[in-house]
């Protein structure tokens, strides 16, 4: 009879699959930092500093020649950065440690510039599971740049566990910064140099401190473009609400208001939650 043979084969195949499925994570939690160091050594040939703070994974590394005299981002550096992002993604997905956010701090030690890339792990999983598109995923990135003392060692003193609100604040700031750089007209018009986020948990308020020529001390902060700036912030806040509002507990907003402050800490604009959550916000007139 053929039935027992077929059954034996089916059971063997099932056993195979079960064995494979039962294999543990590739990067166990108890040796996560060691695995990261080894992987980065293997893939990038780089020594890294790493740490898991709460549910946020940090990796710091040096990438040479991120700054080039020909004003271009060198391909080698870019590739290394991409490899670093890929490596951290692999680890985050294949570990049993709970990781909500990954932060890569890539630094050019010679010139003293650091780029920080923050990702929410759920976005990566949503991309794998086809819940969000690639362009959407590309939008969900926090990119920050800062200057550091040249030649200084990698440190993790300012590492802390990120919350969703902080992440969203940094995400909005990152998008405004990138927008200002990407569109030179907008940058000139808004006069933005840099936007720094800060989230007040108690007041549930996101503060965006803007620095730049348009916001230097003594310069009138009530400018004709404040309406445009306001609209930009409302747009980003609405986008943040749309993309990440579902991660907040039911009935709990991620922020009640967004304050735009000058470097002195004065509130230039206050945007309430109602402004970015009402459906007809696009129809509101802008101040010319």
């Amino acid at each position: 009879m053929r039935e027992p043979e077929t059954l034996a084969r089916a059971l063997t195949a099932a056993a195979f699959i079960a064995i494979l499925a039962g294999c543990g994570p590739s990067y166990p939690k108890k040796d996560l930092e060691g695995s990261i160091r080894e992987l980065f050594r293997k893939e990038l040939g780089a020594e890294v500093r790493t740490g898991l703070v709460g549910k946020t994974l940090y990796v710091s590394l040096d990438i040479d020649n991120m700054v080039s005299p020909d004003l271009d981002l060198p391909k080698d550096a870019l590739k290394k950065l991409e490899d670093a992002m890929l490596s951290i993604s692999r680890i985050s997905l294949s570990t049993d440690a709970e990781i909500d956010y990954t932060v890569i701090e890539a630094r050019d030690p010679v010139w003293g510039v650091e780029t920080r890339i923050v990702r929410k792990m759920q976005d990566l999983k949503d991309l794998f599971y086809w819940r969000i598109s690639k362009p959407d995923f590309d939008e969900r990135l926090v990119l920050e740049m800062r200057k550091v003392p040249p030649g200084s060692a990698l440190s993790g003193d300012d590492w802390r566990d990120l919350s969703l609100q902080e992440y969203l604040g940094r995400w909005m700031a990152s998008r405004i910064n990138m927008g200002a750089r990407a569109n030179p007209f907008l940058g000139v018009l808004l006069g933005i140099g840099e936007v720094e986020p800060d989230y007040d948990q108690e007041r549930k308020t996101l503060s965006l401190t803007v620095s730049g020529a348009g916001y230097a001390a003594g310069v009138s902060t009530v400018t004709a473009v404040s309406g445009l700036l306001r609209e930009s912030i409302v747009e980003q806040a609405a986008l943040a609400e749309k993309k990440y509002g579902r991660f907040m507990p039911e009935g709990t907003p991620w922020a009640e208001a967004v304050d735009l402050k000058n470097p002195e800490g004065q509130v230039i604009l206050r945007i309430d939650r109602a402004d970015w959550t009402t459906p007809d916000r696009k129809n509101k007139e802008t101040t010319k």
Partner: protein, 540 residues
């Protein structure tokens, strides 16, 4: 030696070895590949396996569906007519008639039922039963009854289903059929395979001088091997074959003991069985209770059970067309005429032509009535049917299994009577005698050349001798005797018709008027004129 064994093993099992090794390699690579993946990607891959299997199976199903529909004419062609035991519900009591055949079949059933006891004694269940007989006599029905009464599974295939254009397919089907039967026999103790139209695969094998043969040779060889080949198989598989062809047509190897051990001859039903058949089939329709079933049975001489069933069905259709509530004798009579003689279609003929046909047919009828020892006239008609412009339908009043000289001579006389009648009436004859002459000549030829009924004392079947081995003298003599026979018959016919000419004329007149006359009317006509037939029917 050892190397040779390895070589032979490799040659015989090459495909299986390659497939096994490839499968193992693929499995190993799959395991290595999965193991080398990081856990997230591995889990994703494993999670997608069921979906991929499902999609592959779905694609295969869609492909098979389109392939079968477009190229193979649909899935119905796959069905090979395997009737399962649970589909068969025919008992011996449902097989009407065939008393002798049923007795022999019952023996087979007893053997199959008591196979355990038989095995203890050391006997073996028969391997094969051959049913021979004309078509429509109940061979398939009896085979089903055997299976049902024995309580064992029943697989059925027609001989034509084994034959395909591609060589080897037939043998493969035989193997599969027997394999399935052995499985059923293993599970149930025994199994019956019924092969209808056995002569398609069972006729004598042909061997050409080139060493090859027909495709059916390989099919038949496989059948021979499966029935009683080299290996002694413990399962009880009984093969029942049915054929219309003569036993001599089948291959001798098939008929030898150990294969088709038993032969059951299933012939046409006799009078009593025909009555039972009419009772059986008429019980399935609404019928006039006053119908004389005995008369129907006498009228249906030489009819098979299938013919009788067809007659009853046709009668029901005629009754429905006539908007009557039940089937009557007339309907059955019409049905018989329709089946035997064809549908009547009136041609537009001149009066002269009609009269000529009436005289022609009357001639046949008079001779039949007065000179034929065995046949009765059931119908006389001048309405054209089939290819004939008129006809006299006659049948023996009971079954005869031999034909004597008197009967053949009477048949010749009847055939010639039409010609004689035309000649006597009009002085000329027509082309309408062609088929009559053909019949008469053929019968006379048979009498002299094959049956030794000539007058010169020549005995033997001269048609079996090749023409070049027969002397011209003998041929001339035999032909002369044939002609003499025909002339003698012609003389008798002329004498009888001259004597009964007024009766013939009267009958022709009546027939011209009525166009068709049935048995009763004909009988009444002759009685009214004080005439009796040559031989009285039983009970007259």
């Amino acid at each position: 030696m050892f190397l040779r064994k390895i070589k032979i093993f490799w040659m015989v099992n090459k495909a299986a070895i390659l497939i096994t090794v490839t499968t193992i390699l693929v499995l190993i690579l799959m395991v290595i590949g999965l193991a080398s993946l990081e856990s997230f990607y591995r889990n994703i891959t494993l999670a997608q396996i069921p979906l991929q299997i499902f999609l592959t199976a779905l694609s295969a199903l869609i492909f098979v569906y389109f392939y079968m529909t477009v190229f193979r004419g649909g899935f119905a062609s796959m069905k090979k007519g395997r009737i399962k035991a649970q589909d068969v519900n025919v008992r011996f009591r449902d097989v009407v008639g065939l008393e002798d055949a049923k007795k022999e079949a019952w023996e087979v059933v007893q053997l199959l039922r008591d196979r355990a006891r038989l095995k203890r004694i050391g006997g073996k269940v028969i391997k094969g039963v051959l049913m021979v007989g004309p078509p429509g006599c109940g061979k398939t029905l009896l085979a089903k009854a055997i299976a049902c009464e024995s309580g064992i599974p029943f697989l059925s295939m027609a001989g034509s289903e084994f034959v395909e254009i591609f060589v080897g397919v037939g043998a493969s089907r035989v193997r599969k059929l027997f394999q399935k039967a052995r499985q059923e026999a293993y599970a149930n103790g025994a199994c019956i395979i019924f092969i209808d139209e056995l002569d398609v695969v069972g006729r004598g094998r042909t061997f050409s001088f080139m060493g090859g043969g027909e495709e059916t040779n390989s099919t038949q060889n496989q059948l021979l091997v499966e029935m009683d080949g080299l290996g002694d198989r413990p399962e009880n598989v009984v093969v029942i074959g049915a054929t219309n062809a003569d036993e001599n047509v089948l291959d001798k190897a098939l008929l030898r003991p150990g294969r088709f051990d038993r032969k059951i001859y299933i012939g046409r039903p006799n009078l009593k069985e025909r009555e039972a058949l009419f009772h059986y089939y008429l019980s399935k329709v609404k019928v006039d209770p006053s119908i004389d079933v005995g008369r129907l049975a006498r009228k249906a001489v030489m009819k098979t059970p299938a013919d009788i069933e067809n007659i009853v069905k046709e009668a029901a259709l005629i009754a429905a067309r006539n908007e009557t509530e039940q089937v009557g004798f007339d309907h059955i009579s019409q049905a018989m005429d329709r089946i035997d003689l064809g549908i009547a279609h009136r041609l537009s003929m001149s009066d002269r032509e009609k009269e000529l046909i009436a005289y022609h047919e009357s001639g046949h009828l008079i001779i039949l009535y007065f000179l034929h020892p065995t046949d009765d006239v059931f119908k006389a008609s001048i309405i054209s049917r089939g290819g004939a412009l008129g006809m006299v339908h006659h049948q023996p009043r009971e079954e005869y299994h031999t034909i004597d000289r008197e009967k053949i001579l009477a048949d010749i006389k009847v055939a010639l009577a039409g010609y004689v009648s035309e000649k006597m009436k009009y002085g000329v004859t027509t082309s309408g005698v062609a088929s009559d002459f053909q019949k008469a000549t053929q019968m006379a030829h048979e009498m002299v050349w094959r049956l030794g009924m000539g007058t010169d004392g020549h005995i033997g079947d001269f048609s079996a001798i090749p023409d070049n081995e027969l002397s011209e003298d003998i041929k001339a003599s035999l032909n002369r005797q044939t002609q003499e026979l025909l002339r003698t018959c012609m003389t008798d016919v002329e004498g009888t018709l001259k004597k009964e000419w007024p009766l013939l004329e009267e009958f022709a007149r009546v027939l011209l008027k009525k166009e068709e006359m049935e048995y009763d009317e004909i009988d009444q006509f002759f009685r009214e004129h004080g005439k009796v037939r040559l031989f009285q029917p039983p009970g007259a």
